[in-house]
């Protein structure tokens, strides 16, 4: 018996994780996804970063809504301005 493939046939694009350097330096993006208390979590992370890695530059970003993927423009901006990203889910 033969069947018609009911799935997406495209070969998925292979994305590899960015190289892990083992240390954090430069700029870190903190992305709040707009879930309740995401800001609380982000604030905690920012405080810890300032405390433990004083030289690090912190950039804040916020998704318009947690229900949708981050807009393309925001993703580009984060990639351009930051070396690291921490995304807070929260609740």
């Amino acid at each position: 018996m033969r069947i018609v493939d009911p799935t997406d046939e495209r070969v998925p694009i292979k994305r590899s994780l960015a190289k892990r350097s083992g240390t954090i330096s430069g700029s870190v993006a903190l992305l709040d996804i707009s879930k309740p208390r995401g800001d609380v979590l982000i604030e905690q992370i920012a405080a810890r970063l300032r405390e433990e890695i004083p030289g690090v530059e912190i950039h804040r970003y916020r998704k318009p809504t947690f229900t949708k993927p981050a807009p393309e423009e925001l993703r580009r901006q984060i990639a351009k301005e930051s070396d690291f990203v921490i995304e807070a889910l929260a609740d």
Binding site: M1, R2, I3, V4, D5, P6, T7, D8, E9, R10, P12, P36, P64, T65, T67, K68, P69
Partner: protein, 530 residues
């Protein structure tokens, strides 16, 4: 039967691979047969006799419906008559055959002179005599006493279930272009499970024949991309949707509903990415309006939100399977609901417009009453029932419905978005006795659910509720705390429809998810019927 119809031209290969064309420029006798038909076997010696007697002056062409059977016939009857291979059944289909044997006498230009089917001794005697007149050749000696007067024929292979639909689709020019997978000797049902193609229940294997048959349900090109489906933005072609509709158990006439639903689901307004990936148990809740409800036998009465109706069950399932298989929304992968809900298998039903005192939902949304429309809502994957067996006025009953709606999401969550309220017929009757419009029902729900802010603030008793921050308040004044907030942001967020059995004072609600531009908004699409 005498006609002057010109028959379709064809070219078929005979048993040695030589191409034989019709019309031949001479009189011809076309004899459609299949080997496993006893009446065809009875007829073969007469066809051979006609060929031997008249073959010099006219063309006797036997046309067999399967290759192996043709070989058997040639061997068994030592046939000298050309036996053409119509195992693709294209000529049988073009000739609109129902029965084999079918015998057609044609003139030199391919015009039909005489046609009969099955076996009738009188027909054959008349035919042999006529062939003698046409050719002026001696008629063969046939022992007619060896033949019965009549025998019914068998069904032509071209009208067998599945084959007929495939031929119809092929004749329209439909072609499958998706990759095909050879299952080999494996159990096809187990194969579907092992490949992760099902929702946990068995699916019908989407063989090319079944997919071709499904495509009869739409005029769209099988290659047309209906939508890019989140989360992977997989291209949902008509063919892929048809394959998933086969798997779900749909009939071809359901396919236009599935296609329209997929179009609606793929809109940015609906936000399928969010609906499919949220930890809340949301799903596309599909409502069908318009004449197609009756035509495809949807349930809008007793158990409309339950099970037991093929159209309701399989349309919703086809949508979910397509989201899974083409969009990539798989539980545990991108689909990450904490608990899920049983409605994630399928949630689809129709509005009982004829039983509703109000205008149907699709008319409210700007469509014509005689248009068939599908509306998708991003809502909780299961309804909850609201009982009121004693209210006798619209005011009291809608008060009860409002209090029932209070529990959606969380009783202290106010200012929420869309829900779908399914009003049962007995409740609709009670409301309509007072001639209340939908607007009045909605206003009453907003009235009865309005609570002062102080009751809705998260506190030690219940930490959920309306956050002050969302209202731009830090230290609210006593007046601000007394401000009353209705359950829904806007009365129109209460979508209303009528469905359900004649007996029982139980309506139902599908609670919402994050609603509006920051989440999901309901979307309607017209259904394109064939």
């Amino acid at each position: 039967m005498t006609t002057s119809q010109t028959l379709p031209a064809f070219a078929l290969k005979d048993s040695v691979g030589a191409e034989r064309k019709f019309p031949t420029g001479r009189h011809a006798l076309l004899c459609f047969v299949k080997e496993d038909c006893p009446t065809c076997q009875l007829t073969i010696p007469l066809i051979e006799a006609a060929h031997r007697a008249f073959g010099a002056q006219l063309d006797v062409l036997a046309i067999g419906q399967d290759t192996e059977g043709n070989a058997k016939l040639i061997e068994k009857y030592r046939l000298t008559t050309p036996l053409l291979d119509d195992s693709a059944l294209k000529v049988s289909f073009a000739y609109d055959l129902d029965i084999v044997p079918t015998i057609i006498l044609c003139g030199p230009d391919g015009n039909e002179l005489r046609r009969f089917y099955g076996f009738d001794k009188g027909d054959w005697q008349g035919l042999i005599a006529e062939l003698g007149l046409i050719t002026a050749a001696a008629t063969p000696k046939i022992d007619w006493t060896a033949y019965p007067d009549q025998r019914p024929g068998c069904g032509s292979k071209s009208v067998e279930p599945e084959i007929a639909e495939r031929l119809e689709a092929e004749a329209r020019g439909d072609k499958l272009t998706a990759r095909q997978i050879e299952i080999g000797a494996e159990d096809p049902f187990e194969f579907m499970f092992e490949r992760g193609l099902t929702d946990g229940l068995p699916v019908i294997p989407p063989t090319p024949e079944r997919v071709m048959r499904m495509l009869i349900g739409t005029r769209r090109d099988p290659r047309e991309v209906i939508a890019a489906l989140p989360p992977n933005m997989g291209p949902a072609t008509v063919e892929k949707i048809a394959a998933n509709a086969v798997m779900a158990g749909c009939r071809p006439e359901y396919l236009p509903v599935v296609i329209a639903a997929m179009e609606a689901i793929a809109t940015p307004d609906f936000n399928a990415h969010g609906i499919m990936s949220t930890t809340w148990g949301a799903t596309p809740v599909i409502v069908v309006n318009g004449p197609i409800r009756e035509r495809i036998g949807m349930n809008m009465g007793m158990m409309a939100l339950g099970y037991g109706n093929r159209a309701n069950a399989t349309i919703g399932r086809a949508v979910k399977l397509t989201l899974r298989n083409v969009g990539g929304a798989r539980p545990g992968d991108i689909e990450r609901s904490t608990l899920g809900a049983i409605g994630k298998f399928t949630t689809c039903f129709a509005e009982w417009e004829e039983r509703s005192p109000w205008e149907p939902m699709h008319v409210e949304r700007g469509f014509k009453k005689n248009e068939s429309v599908v509306t998708v809502f991003g809502l909780e994957a299961g309804s909850r029932q609201i009982a009121d067996q004693t209210s006798r006025t619209a005011h009291a009953l809608c008060g009860s419905l409002g209090l029932g709606l209070e529990a959606c999401w969380h009783p202290k969550q106010h200012g929420t978005g869309e829900v779908l309220l399914v009003v049962c017929p007995e409740h609709a009757d009670t409301i309509w006795r007072d001639r209340w419009s939908k607007a009045q029902v909605r206003a009453r729900i907003q009235q009865v659910t309005s609570r002062p802010l102080r009751e809705l603030i998260p506190n030690a008793e219940s930490g959920e509720g309306v956050p002050l921050k969302a209202l731009g308040l830090v230290n609210p004044t006593p007046e601000q705390l007394e401000q009353r907030i209705p359950k829904f942001r806007k009365p129109e967020n209460i979508n209303m429809m009528v469905a359900g059995g004649e007996a029982g004072k139980f309506s139902a609600v599908f609670a919402g998810w994050v609603s509006g531009p920051m989440g999901s908004s309901s979307v309607s699409r017209k259904i394109e019927e064939v």
